[in-house]
Amino acid sequence: MSEKKPAVYLCKGCGIGEAVDVDALETVAKSEFKIGRCLQHAALCSDDGLATIRNDVESGSVNRMVIAACSHRVMTDKFQFGAAPVVRAGLREQVAWSQPAKAEDTQMLAADQIRMGVTQLSRTETPAPSVVQEFSRTVMVVGGGITGLTAAREAAKAGYPVLLVEKTDRLGGWAAKWSARMPHRPPYRDVQPNDVGKLVTAVQADKQITVKTNTLITRTAGQPGAFAVTLSQGGQETTERVGAIVVATGWRPYDASKLGHLGHGSSPDVVTGIELEAMLKAGTLTRKSNGAPVERIAFVQCAGSRDPDHLPYCSSVCCGVSIKQALQVVTRSPKASAYIVYEELRTPGTAEEFYRQAQKAGVIFMKGKAGKVDGGRMTVTYQDELLGMDVPLGPLDMIVLATGMVPNSTNPDAPAVEPEKGEAQLKDDINPVAPIKVAGYLSGEGKAWPHIDKGVPPGGPILNLQYRQGPHIPILADGFSDSHYICFPYETRRSGIYTAGPVRRPMDMAESAEDAMGAVLKAIQAIEGSKMGSSLHPRVGDLSFPKIGHDKCTKCRRCTVECPFGAIDEDEQGRPVINPSRCRRCGTCMGACPVQTITFDNYNPQMVNAMIEANEIPDEFSEKPRILVLACENDAYPAIDMAGINRHQWSPFVRIIPVRCLGSVTMQWISTALQKGYDGIMLMGCKSGDDYQCHFVKGSGIAKERMSKVGETLKSLMLEKERVTMEEVSIADSHRVPEVVNKFAELIGAMDPNPMKGF
């Protein structure tokens, strides 16, 4: 590394010049930090301002800089000068726009922004990327149903080689067994022919796609860009290298033999929707009991669904399927009548058109819970909510139980490998109320989640991941693969591996095909990102990755246990091994490391520690308390910026440092701040739990768990536990953020000053 030639550029535009004394800020940089090159400008983002900086860089007089201007979230493309590290000290949103102009406290805040910026700069290096070896562009698609077929086809169309792996001997999946499709094209009213056969033909004809049927995956090792996958086809094992994986293993029907209370097994004419579909496909709709034609048919919706004793969730497609089948039945014979007994009919979006079409065709919808299904008398007795009485529907020729979908997040045909370890890991993942296991901190028992045993679909792992954290793709509640529903729906917690279709959530054929396209795009991004050494979501383009100082490492395994993405394995000696392209750069490992030996080139414990220490702490008689806010850069920090943009004001005693994720916050920062004399500390991040908003899935939950133990630390320092708090905010909370901050400032203001000031 050549000699550091830092500069501080101070902008006076957008009201900064009117709000603070910029000369005094320049003095801070010059006298406190001995920065030689300081420059004030009326508008740094103007052509003239940018040209000035560019000249400095190109002339070789400056090779790193602090831009003291607007937030680091804006104008990132303008303030970029080759490889020179750039740190942005925010004087606009969080000073000029949110504090009274020319006030003493405003000036002090601005000066601290400069101090933190210059300090951060001194600890920042331009990261050198880690690029994967034995790189592969191939997309492996697991599952040959409509989702997998679509994924394969779309990836091939985009120019990527595809390896399509199917467990059975043929392509098409469940979709190939359907007699017809629900409408998926305008006007969304009529039953449409099943066109999955065409898709199978197209996939088989595509030279970019290698299809392997009768094939299972026995091992998946490596990382995005360079997965090593061992396939077993009839006992023959081969190893393939693939860049990314789309898991489209679909679903299995709920086991109807558990539905005796709904008459299953009481008559051959009480069938499931799947069985009826087979009859419709074969074209012979007759009673199984006596071969008579089926003219009066009733569908029992939610058979074993939305039922705490069976599937607690809605499978979303059964209503549409029953509507389709009922329409098919009444269309076949003018004498036929079809009844659909439902509690709530779920026909979102265009499915409402289909629903109406069925009503027009004379399909009769009865609102109420089916209480008793009598296979002897072929009667469905249900509690009609609109009549307020029990109504017996019968005698019927056929009763159809509309059963739900169970995700194939495991392979039902394979035994659970490492039953204890594998299943326990899955259960930990799906139990939303259990405390997150944090190495070294976990205490107490988690509350039992009532559906924990039903939440894990029986079977073995799909990919047999050779990861420290186990062979499964983590799942969330109800056994579906975990994914960030709001921001990154296809992302699993295993980077480069994407789920699509009903393994992710229940969906119909059209939705599955769309889902496949989304997942393929993600897979391509993973391949291209790993080629450059760039992170995936949400820190796309970040070339830094965690580095472990093995000399200091105590092999405590906290990082390997807590990494939300399973990016860190262990070698034979138990030392952590980073797989850089699996890593999402959240820094949860950094927050976990008790000896602060996990660092990023541009983000590390020492850097934030120094920033905390850089600020000036007025003495205990000044009545100027200091509050440290560690704000997650994903939602909290943007919300604070937006509060400034909206000209909300908040306490000038607050000093805000952005962090990658609350998971990256080390306990050392807390104790540094308290020892330095900060009066209060607030961690501001995303919602945790089963409806988490954390962009790194578990980061905020882990932080919460760690902070629950901070009380003891405070006690040992003879400090009130209220001085450290954690607040969940969303990106839409810009109006709430100032309130939250001010309330905390008020609470801290009412306490005695931190006695450790000036210690």
């Binding site: 009066r296 009548s337 009844y339 109406r356 009503q359 027009k360 065709a361 004379g362 399909v363 009769i364 919808f365 009865m366 609102k367 009609d384 609109l386 009549l387 109504v391 017996p392 529907l393 019968g394 005698p395 019927l396």
Partner: protein
């Protein structure tokens, strides 16, 4: 014959809804009823009905033909058409109730003491015989359709009104008003009845 009497051997008749959809005027539109209840909420005398139209329509779907066909709902409809213009699914509620009334009379569900049936029969007699409604005769016939005694009582109760109307020239004394083409009308109606028996309305 399109009007087949519903099966009366069971309390619930699964085919009843289908029968209504196919045989009651506007019944096909009933399939689209979404049970919102705007009809019942709009009805001026819904509270006096055994069931509001919404509930009656659900009972049709549940196959409760006996209760539906003998319900007072269709007989209390005042033909204000508020439900018709308000129904978000364009179900012609009034028309359906009117035809349910007609069919329940035709199929013998209506009781002998049913005021509407007796009134309708008196009315039709006048229309058919004279080609005009003679309010005086229709009212008298209607009153006495309940028997001599009740007819007399009902007449007496409205005597004052009648006398007042006579005084104002709004009720005439003398022969009924009648059309010239009575023979023609009789032939037309007889033919219409014959076609209806054979083919129904539509």
């Amino acid at each position: 014959m399109t009007v087949a009497p519903p099966d009366t051997s069971t309390k619930y008749d699964l085919d009843f809804a289908k029968w209504v959809y196919e045989n009651i005027e506007g019944g096909d539109k009933l399939a689209l009823c979404m049970q919102c209840g705007v009809c019942s909420g709009s009805c001026p005398i819904g509270v006096q009905m055994d069931y509001g139209p919404r509930k009656l329509f659900m009972m049709i779907r549940a196959g409760m033909k006996e209760e539906v066909m003998t319900s007072s709902t269709q007989w209390n409809c005042t033909s204000c058409y508020r439900c018709v213009v308000r129904c978000p699914r364009s179900v012609p509620v009034t028309y359906i109730l009117q035809d349910l009334a007609a069919k329940s009379a035709e199929l013998g569900y209506a009781q002998k003491t049913n005021e509407n049936v007796n009134f309708a029969r008196s009315f039709w007699w006048s229309a058919k015989t004279f080609g005009r409604t003679d309010e005086r005769l229709v009212t008298a016939l209607y009153y006495f359709s309940f028997g001599l005694k009740e007819g007399y009582q009902r007449g007496l109760a409205n005597l004052k009104i009648a006398l007042n109307f006579v005084k104002r020239g709004r009720m005439h004394i003398g022969l009924p008003h009648r059309i010239k083409g009575r023979r023609q009308l009789k032939a037309i109606l007889a033919k219409a009845e014959e076609i209806a028996k054979r083919e129904g309305l539509h």
